[in-house]
Symmetry: C2
Subunit: 206 residues, 2 copies
Amino acid sequence: MDFSSKLLENAVNEMSQFPGIGKRTALRLVLHLLKQPKEHTQKLSQSLQLMRDEVIFCKICNNISDRDVCEICSNPNRNGEIICVVEDIRDVMAIENTGRYRGHYHVLGGKISPMDGIGPGDLNIISLVERVKSGNVKELIFALSSTLEGDTTNFFIFKQLETYTINITTIARGISVGDELEYTDEVTLGRSIVNRVPFESSLKST
Amino acid sequence: MDFSSKLLENAVNEMSQFPGIGKRTALRLVLHLLKQPKEHTQKLSQSLQLMRDEVIFCKICNNISDRDVCEICSNPNRNGEIICVVEDIRDVMAIENTGRYRGHYHVLGGKISPMDGIGPGDLNIISLVERVKSGNVKELIFALSSTLEGDTTNFFIFKQLETYTINITTIARGISVGDELEYTDEVTLGRSIVNRVPFESSLKST
């Protein structure tokens, strides 16, 4: 791609470093900025930079926060005896949106994936083990995605905590609410029968 | 969407103002920045702001440039007697990439589209008429997209220039090189037969 302006080229190159954004999309986005008032670009770049420089990761659960301890960890109405282990902050947001969970979280920051060079040391696993060691935790809920990497990570953490007397559970896999039985894959359908639950439990909150 | 950090929320809101980028995609992009070193975000926001503040539109053709007069308009080896009228800078880049055009351009900045509130006054049409009036222009090539808006814009400019003795042409519509005849829509196929060209002309440059 030949650009008529070096400034434009630099901006496009920077924008195209986002995952899933190629040169053409980046150009479209940057040209959009040119059609907007200058203040718009100023606000955008300032908010990105401020976010990157000032955002804090909760020192307990590693969730993104504006304070040392995030709102969930510091909320006295939430149950600190249950920790839900998730991959990243988007999973926290998704579970929070359900309004069905009142425990704490632990954000790992990824999954063990040797293919991508991510080992246990790159994730927030040690701090999770420390939280369990501290003695207040009664249950750990694994909510990683059910891929090879997710299962590996679950198993690694499970092994680390074998000697502690806590419940380790995993979120239920089954047929999505509203989905048709006949179109569900066999693994999911099989699991949903093996792991069937008492009818009245579908009304509970944790 | 509930965010655990106000800074994150602001950044996501700003990112989601780009066309085609929703809140979820914006969050994915912003979280990507958090995984990169701080310098990365700094470079990104600086290059965007610098581009927005410093970029110049060529005072002749309105192409994006780092100087008052763009490289194409100031290139003595290019033919200023031919002007190719395009919608935006991406079209200039596309035509330049072909390497088959050695004339000048005129970037309108859009198409006449009453539905979107874009009238002739919002486009760089007056400056185009001025360029023709100056007397050096022999041919105008319309290269707008063949939509209702593109045709309207072409016709509007054509009407403005009726009294001047210049050639007004439009880029050829026809079957894309490599496409199969049988799958081409009727309008395109019909036009490509009506506007057939001498065989040897497919080898020329302008």
